[in-house]
């Protein structure tokens, strides 16, 4: 027997992946998530439905307003349902493992505690990825359907045999609506929304390594969530105090991830900003997972 066989490697990606897929399967088979996703889909559908009532003349102004409203509503719905899945879904992972004693059977195998914890996190992040991807695809499909509807109405109102001046004006309207529908900045907003949720799941898991119940985990994480949205403004308010700046920097600045308003107003979002925020999220996530691993290593199960 060689020394290499004596002790398994520091950690094994395949064991992490096994635990992650198990976590994902477990979550997907609990109908709660399907209901949440379904509920989000219903909201998205209703967003495109009740804006139909506001439609008087199929003018460009009207169409742009409706499309903006729909984006606003759907991005908001994705953020809220994503947040519910991230917090509630992750907060119950460790308490359930302890309650069902499944954690004993896993840690009694040659599995490291950090592998177990990271596996649980990856499972959560995968669940969020699946949920956000499904909601985003439905959102994109609804937006395209709605946009195409307006384009047909505007083209139909103009008619084929109009004079060239009106034709060009109509073409410009069509272009503006197409730009609103096929807006690549939407993808950036959704990407940042996902990163924010993935970070939130990491924070929730960290809280649950020392939390004693699901309700505690949810409550603390929700408080961090709100603090994370206020901290950006607070930092600007107390610019001169070094201590305050240090304390604020411990709280994740979740407000940075929210670019939905800019997207809706049509303000361009530079890739540099997306990368900066993504890098901030990654650094914070690695730190919070490292803290979670350290706390969990000291916890008796």
């Amino acid at each position: 027997m060689t020394e290499k066989e004596q002790e398994p490697r520091l950690f094994s990606l395949s064991r992490i992946w096994t635990i992650a897929l198990n976590t994902l399967t477990e979550s997907l088979r609990q109908k709660v998530y399907l209901i949440l996703i379904l509920f989000a889909l219903v909201l998205i559908a209703s967003a495109s439905f009740f804006s139909q009532f506001g439609l008087g003349e199929p003018g460009e102004q009207e169409a742009m307003e409706q499309l903006k409203f729909m984006k606003d509503f759907c991005l908001g719905a994705i953020a809220v349902f994503g947040m519910l899945i991230a917090i509630v879904g992750t907060a119950q992972l460790l308490p359930n493992e302890l309650e069902n004693r499944t954690i004993y059977t896993i840690l009694a195998k040659p599995v490291r505690r950090c592998e177990f914890l990271l596996g649980k996190y990856v499972g959560s992040a995968l669940l969020l990825l699946v949920s956000v991807a499904i909601m985003s695809l439905m959102f994109a499909a609804a937006l395209k359907f709605k946009g195409d509807n307006y384009l047909r109405l505007i083209r139909g109102a103009a008619g084929p045999q109009e004079s060239s001046v009106e034709w060009e004006q109509m073409q410009r309207q069509v272009e503006r609506i197409r730009a609103t529908v096929y807006d690549t900045d939407l993808a950036k907003a959704l990407l940042l929304a996902y990163l924010k949720l993935a970070l939130l799941a990491g924070i929730t898991l960290f809280v649950s390594t020392f939390g004693t119940s699901i309700i505690f985990n949810v409550a603390v994480t929700v408080m961090i969530f709100f603090a994370g949205h206020l901290v950006g403004a607070a930092k600007e308010r107390w610019l001169e105090s070094g201590v305050a700046q240090f304390l604020f920097s411990l709280i994740p600045d979740l407000g940075m991830f929210n670019v939905a308003d800019d997207v809706i107003l049509g303000n361009a979002i530079p890739w540099l900003y997306v990368l900066q925020v993504a890098a901030y999220g990654m650094v914070y996530l690695v730190a919070v997972l490292a803290a979670a691993v350290c706390v969990f290593a000291e916890r008796e199960v």
């Binding site: 395949s14 499944t102 059977t105 840690l107 009694a108 040659p110 199960v301």
Partner: protein, 308 residues
């Protein structure tokens, strides 16, 4: 650190060459105090336990509830940490992940992932142990057959009975063919047939040369399967020894005689007294309720079979 492990390994190899056998489990002064929190002091769950379990042995840990049986198993598996003392599995300190490579564990009253089927459960645990592909699938089929769950393989565990959960628990403990099994109350809450099956399974594992450490408070079963027992009370080991000599009553002797006529009995009694013995009791042996129960069920199933 690596170098130290290597030296330990060599020492144990040298040890076995000279005829000292490596212990399957060894604990030295294993002590566990649980903090009760908020100034309520500490609970002494286990008090200086010394245990040596030889390879191939079935060892029963007995004791009332709260005597430290489960704590002992958890300490050996490094699920909780000792306040003082140390434990080794096959001479590897239990704080090392490698010590758990040859161990299977069945916790008390196990619940597994309710949403997985029996086969998926075994697949999950098999993968954690590094099994893959065709060999894993073969192993799953073998184990489901062994514990009698082949027909329930594609049912979710949410629909399993207590006895079935216990059996799938045994199967997951066996998935990587470990040398050592730690079974915490393996027959708790299982009906007599199920517990007889589990008892037979433990005996079969023993024939295969596995080492088993089980905890129980069902004394008759322990007597049937264990080579040695230790009795714990309030965290302290108060008795230990081989089962057969421990329970043998050296002063008494029991004959079981069949078809003896009445005058024969008088002659036997007279002979006993003449030889200096004293008759304590003469009675008809009773069949156990368990035998009666199993026979009745056996008859019923045969009857049902004839109707089909």
């Amino acid at each position: 650190m690596r170098r130290r492990v290597g030296r330990q390994r060599r020492e144990s190899l040298i040890g076995s060459a000279f005829g000292f056998e490596m212990d399957a489990i060894r604990t030295e002064h294993l002590t566990k105090k649980y903090n009760l929190g908020w100034g309520r002091g500490r609970l002494l769950a286990l008090d200086g336990l010394n245990l040596r379990i030889r390879p191939g042995e079935v060892y029963g840990l007995l004791g009332p509830n709260g005597s430290g049986k489960s704590t002992t198993l958890k300490l050996i598996l490094n699920l909780v940490w000792p306040t003082s003392g140390t434990a080794w599995i096959f001479d590897v300190p239990c704080t090392r992940v490698a010590s758990r490579r040859h161990v299977g564990y069945l916790p008390e009253n196990p619940y597994f992932y309710r949403y997985l089927t029996g086969a998926e459960t075994l697949e999950f645990y098999g993968k954690l142990c590094g099994l893959r592909g065709a060999s894993l699938r073969r192993r799953i089929d073998e184990l489901l057959e062994l514990v009698g769950l082949a027909r329930a393989r594609d049912r979710r565990l949410a629909g399993y009975s207590k006895g079935m959960l216990q059996r799938i628990g045994l199967a997951q403990a066996l998935i990587h063919d470990p040398e050592l099994l730690l079974l915490d109350e393996p027959t708790a809450g299982v009906d007599p047939i199920g517990s007889r099956d589990i008892r037979d399974l433990i005996l079969r594992l023993k024939q295969m040369g596995k080492t088993v450490l089980l905890s129980s408070h069902l004394l008759s079963q322990v007597q049937d399967v264990c080579d040695r027992i230790g009795i714990l009370n309030l965290g302290r080991k108060i008795l230990e020894g081989e089962v057969v000599p421990l329970v043998r009553d050296q002063r008494r002797l029991c004959f079981t005689v069949q078809d003896l006529p009445p005058h024969g009995r008088e002659a036997v009694e007279a002979a006993v007294v003449a030889a200096g013995g004293r008759i304590v009791s003469v009675e008809h042996p009773q069949t156990s309720l368990e035998t009666l129960f199993l026979e009745a069920l056996g008859r019923d199933e045969r009857g049902a079979g004839e109707h089909d």
